[in-house]
Symmetry: C2
Subunit: 340 residues, 2 copies
């Protein structure tokens, strides 16, 4: 059973995943992500190589765990957290821990081993992003979870261990530290200004214009003013809502279009970079009492895209103080000019 | 002039270092750190290849910027922050920025290109760590700075661009986010318990014993309870003091011994791993009014050592929520058993 442990100084929860690699000799270099479809557990025909599927978009009345799907959700074979069991919170001396209860799922985005997300047609991508919504809405029913995190690691240096295009979902019994800071910061701003900080940022970006990467009717992608990383991009819905799962059918198309163009520009500009993106959505609804009371107004879901073009050094890791060698306005101009 | 920009949501300052790499084509893979002494700007005889030295430990009456030193401090040739100029804080629309004023120095730890820090004799290492103290005390006089960060990147994957053993110092006009969180967390604990949380942690670690890596009379190295990374180690002085520059002569020897043994165990156990270490010391003294009033009691200087054995994935980067595949007690046992 994995374990959640809390740092007593800064109140940061860490997952101690005992069932993953352990000993020093286990830390082999990750492969380069160029594994082949042969034997790939995410390729059609290999459905039996994954745990039984949780959900799938299927084109006809094919049976679960057989071919016929276009998007498929399965439990992670090596989960960081376990779905079965009780929280069992208790102290160890001065420290706090709880059982590593949670969900860890893999969203297989396509049947094609080589079709990266930005290569997909918009209508196919809509199915991927609709699947995010379905899984989010489902897991929100589980009262043990406080946050559901959806993210994608693209490429080995971004942490992907399998090349077949996929996203991941982790449902956690604690709110991740950075998300919590965002919630707290947004709430403080709302209390001060009576406006959503994200709405204000969108307005400011559309006014200043020099950090915009792409815009359509419902979404805007831009390099944030205080980008931590070169070519960091945030994609935000223009309509205010805290929860991703509020997304409607038309918005899904616009979101798919924005993500496709933004990621295509990024990978074209940087020559096929590895990257991560993380969906920042509101915390689970049952938590909305007291502290999160104003959440409807102050939080605003969005995606943060982090290309892996620089090695983060000790300075950044140990301090949370980033050095970004690329001016965000220059990154945005370059991405704007990149034809896709 | 580099620029400091503040993220308006989580109040995180980022250095936008305009004079470093800029365009996508500039992001070449870092070299493997195996550069040779020939042409190395940190090797003796090549003193003219660095900016003029700020400080050096010299064995006899040799002149600055010539041979005869054992530890040498020079400005970083490609500084993330600039020492000359005014802060010039102002807003840009809804955003906040200031000039990138600060110091960025390199501490060359040895004349020997291949002598890694843990290979040095304890009495030689004392000179390195005494140099940290000298530079810290000197830069604290500059009223523009709020924090002085000393850190080391060992190996290319840890961010080192030159192989010759060196540490770095960055003095900043803002307190780095993670350090600030630590100060705030420690203060909250002190207010609640009337005890230093770090002193309590040391006591608890010496009582539980199962995460100790090394201990001498004045220092203890251990894998923290909620380690973010496999084989993460914190080295702490047993004597309570917020500031590293309070370290005395005897303590310097004990510190050099603790760091030498701890790093030797780490690199031996993991077969020459790349790592970062960061000195966490109290903020600059002139700031101690109001908010930092109780700092003398609540903060406790220490070193955090972060080996680079896993690739941090998008999940961790975007959320501050870490997955550590190695149980800290197992890491500590392994390091304890490693003979050096």
């Amino acid at each position: 059973m994995p374990e959640l442990r809390k740092d007593p100084i800064v109140n940061r929860w860490v997952i101690i995943a005992t069932e993953r690699a352990k000993r020093p000799t286990d830390f082999v270099a990750p492969d380069n992500g160029q594994d082949s479809p042969k034997g790939c557990p995410f390729c059609p025909g290999n459905e039996s190589k994954t745990p039984p599927e949780i959900y799938a978009v299927r084109t006809d009345s094919t049976r679960p765990d057989t071919e016929g799907w276009t998007v498929r959700v399965v439990p992670n074979k090596f989960p960081a957290l376990r779905i079965e069991g009780d929280m069992e919170k208790f102290g160890v001396g001065i420290y706090d821990r709880m059982n590593g209860i949670g969900a860890h799922e893999v969203i297989i985005e396509t049947t094609d081993h080589f079709e990266k997300i930005e290569m997909q047609r918009v209508d196919a991508l809509v199915n991927v992003f609709a699947t995010y919504k379905v899984r989010l809405a489902d897991l929100k029913q589980d009262e043990r979870f406080r946050y559901i995190l959806i993210f994608k690691n693209e490429g080995a240096t971004a942490g992907a261990t399998l090349a077949h295009p996929h996203s991941q979902l982790i449902a956690t019994p604690v709110t991740p530290k950075r998300i919590r800071e965002e919630l707290v910061g947004a709430q403080a701003y709302f209390e001060y200004k009576d406006r959503c900080i994200f709405c204000d940022i969108i307005r400011e970006e559309l006014r200043q214009k020099d950090r915009i990467v792409y815009e359509n009717n419902s979404f805007v992608s831009f390099c944030p003013f205080a980008s931590r990383f070169p070519f960091e991009i945030w994609t935000m819905p223009k309509r205010h809502h805290p929860d991703y799962d509020s997304i409607g059918r038309d918005e899904l198309f616009a979101f798919a279009d924005a993500m496709k163009v933004t990621l295509a520009k990024l990978t074209t500009a940087l020559g096929g970079t590895h990257y991560n993106y993380i969906l920042h959505t509101g915390p689970v609804r049952w938590r909305r009492r007291g502290y999160w009371a104003t959440l409807e107004h102050d939080f605003h879901w969005h995606v943060e895209i982090i290309p892996r073009v620089t090695n983060t050094a000790g300075f950044e890791w140990g301090t949370g103080f980033y050095i970004n060698p690329t001016v965000p306005e220059e990154a945005a101009r370059f991405l704007q000019e990149t034809q896709v």
